[in-house]
Amino acid sequence: MLTIKDFIYYRSTILIFLLPKFLNNSRIFPCHEFKKNITQEKCIMWLITTTITAIAVTAIWYIKPKTYKLDILSLMLWGTSIMILVDHILGFEGGEFILLETEGLITNGTLLGIIMLIPIFIIWEILLITSKPKQKVVGGK
C-alpha cells in the first residue's frame, strides 16, 4: 500500500528531474529569451539544479530510513551548492545576477547541472552498495 511518505518520496524524485526543465521554460528564469541576443546560454542553471536536488535529497533523508546513507548524499550536494554560489557571487561582474555566460563543451546550463551531479551520485551509490544496506532493509543478519 502506498503511504504518504512513499508518495512524497516519489514526488520529490520526479521534481528533481522536472523542475529544472520547468524553470528553464518559465517566466522566472526564461533562458530561451536570452538565447535570442547571445550565442550561448547565460543562465546559471547548474546552481539552481544542484540546490533543488540538495533540498529534495535532504527532505527524503528526513523521511526515509537512515540505511540509505542519504545524509552523505545531501551533505555532498549542499557542499556543491555553497561552492557554486560563492563562485558566482565573487565572480559577479555587474548586470543581472542570474545571468552568466556559459562556455565550453556544453552550453546548456541544465544539462551541465545534471552532468555535475553524476559523479556525486556514483560515489553515493558505491558507498551504499559497499555498506550492503539491502540486507538490513530486507531483514537479514
Binding site: 557542499g79 560563492v86 559523479p119
Partner: protein, 109 residues
Amino acid sequence: MACFITPMSFAIVTTIFRRKIPENLKISWLNIMMWGGVIALAVEHIVHEEIVFFPPFLTTMQTPSEIPVMLKEMAIIGGTMTIAIAGIWLAMVFISKKVNHTIINPVKN
C-alpha cells in the same frame, strides 16, 4: 580557472588528519561537503575546458601572463569557498551539540 584547488588542498589535509581530530567535531561532515563540492566543480571546469587531461592540466598554465590571475582567483574565490564550507560545518556542529544537549538535559521548570 582553478578555484576548486584551494578547497581540495584543504580537504586532502583534513582527510589525512581526520583520526587526529576529536570525534565530537564531526570532521567527516566537513570532508564530505568539501569533496562533494570539489568533485562537482572539477566536472564543471572540465566541461568549460579549464582542465585538460594532458600536462600542464590547467589551460591557464599554458599562458604565463595568466598564472598570477589564476593564483589570485585560487586565493580569493577558493579561500572564500573553503571558509564558507568550514563556517557552515562549525554552525552544524554547534547546532547539533545544542540539540543533543537539550534532548539529554531537558530544561527543568
